[in-house]
Amino acid sequence: MGEHTVSSFDEELGHIDRLIREMGDLAGAMTRASTNALLSSDTALAQRVISDDTIMDAKQRELDERAITLIAKRQPMAQDLRGVVGAIRMAADLERIGDLAKNIAKRVGAVGQSATPRTLAHSIDNMAGLVLDQVNAVVDFYVRREAEQLVPLRDEDEKIDIQYTSIFRELLTYMMEDPRNITACTHLLFCAKNLERIGDHVTNIAENAYYVMTGSQLPVQRPKLDETQMSVEADS
């Protein structure tokens, strides 16, 4: 895309893009760190995630203000308008990712060191890895304006959902085996659920980013089954 006749317009749009990039990097780092903190009961690391969330909030506020000022001053049209409105929405999703990571971090300590079986820790760690890749990828594709890459990315979310379902089952098994596992497993379940929701926010971001770049919506996704819901009903 060519440059605006008024170059400060480009600078302002560029700044908004940079904030999205920074928020995306921060969201990824918080996701990773909060899961690590939980699995290794690292309260110092958890504390960092909690304070990072304040930085995330501040960045979102800055982005909102810049976007609103830009709309008032420049009255953007077409892809510029989509870009600014899309950035506001993407920032809201990134901020929510920050919140979810913070909520994971807040559970650290509650789980208790010995209670997490290795295989389970491994599954959650895997899931966090998948989610992290998604968070990083969506922001990369957005910043590099690679619309077509977003299509498979959204479908990747399916893998996270499958992973979540399997962790859910695993946790149920542990809890049924020994009621003393219940407390720890509940916290882990909560963590897995938050990771799964982070994945959903990534999907939102991908949809927004696609609209910003192309002006059309991502093709409608087939409806997905919530298997955890089904298995709860089946088990009860």
Partner: protein, 271 residues
């Protein structure tokens, strides 16, 4: 409350996006000023009872095309018009067409308000008089009042109808010119940057008026304000270097245009 059935809503949505019946149709319209060609085969349909905005960079031929629609170009000696322009299926360049009558059917409001050096009353009564649309004093009184009402000017000038029109403010003069255009009950109103000399309040009044006029009239407006085009029109046509680049529903043109030149122009990336 006004409840709409799904079908009615669907229909409303459909009709908002459809071009509708064409009031005027330009086919392969070319214009030369002496040796210099200003329009290169423009094909454009003006939908009935809608507002169409013409946009594009300075010198691209918007005013030239607009002037073709009521043969205002005839008044420029060196100007030659080719192709055809239909009004309700009738070629307006047919030698049998009465140009004075045509201009009563297709009225025009110019960029700079140009009231006659006469009273406010006379500015409006003039058209109906020469077209024989009124004869008795009461008839003239009525056409003057209703035209001023429609143009949103009546309350401001009702006590000074016999003072000169040139004594009004710029925004009032522009609305006077719109009232004058409406007075002869045209079918189409052409507006060439009607708000370029107006403050935001007068501009808002003119835009509000355009919105009301759309009920009964077909309107073509040239504007340099993208926001104005987006606000007042249902369809937008983009010109560039004497060519029609793209035409479509205004909402689409300003959120997701097809042509790169439209894109660059409306987002401020041109030259």
């Amino acid at each position: 409350m006004n409840m709409l059935t799904d079908a009615a809503v669907e229909e409303k949505l459909q009709s908002a996006s459809k071009p509708g019946v064409s009031k005027m149709v330009g086919k392969d319209v070319t214009v030369h000023y002496g040796e210099k060609q200003a329009l290169f085969g423009v094909n454009l349909e003006v939908p009935e009872k809608q507002v169409m905005a013409l946009i594009g960079p300075s010198g691209c031929g918007k005013s030239t095309f607009l002037r073709c629609l009521n043969r205002m170009n005839d008044t420029i000696d060196i100007c030659r018009v080719g192709g055809s322009i239909m009004l309700d299926g009738e070629d307006i360049y047919d030698p049998r067409i009465d140009v004075v009558e045509l201009r009563a059917r297709v009225g025009m409001v110019f960029q700079k308000p140009n009231p006659f050096p006469k009273s406010i009353y006379e500015n409006i009564a003039y058209g109906p008089r020469i077209h024989g649309l009124a004869s008795k004093k009461s008839e003239f009184d009525e056409v003057v009042e209703t035209s001023l009402q429609k143009a949103g000017l009546f309350n401001e000038v009702k006590d000074r109808l016999h003072e000169p029109g040139t004594g009004l403010s710029g925004g009032q003069q522009q609305r006077l010119c719109i009232a004058r255009a409406i007075a002869v009950s045209p079918e189409v109103i052409l507006m060439d940057e009607p708000c370029s000399a107006l403050d935001p309040i007068a501009t808002a009044k003119v835009e509000e008026l355009i919105d009301e006029l759309r009920e009964n009239y077909t309107i073509v407006i040239v504007t340099h304000s993208m926001q104005q085009a987006a606000r007042v029109s249902q369809r937008t046509a983009m010109f560039h270097l004497g060519n029609l680049v793209e035409e479509g529903p205004t909402d689409k043109m300003f959120t997701n245009p097809d042509d790169k030149r439209t894109q660059d122009y409306i987002t401020g990336r041109f030259g």
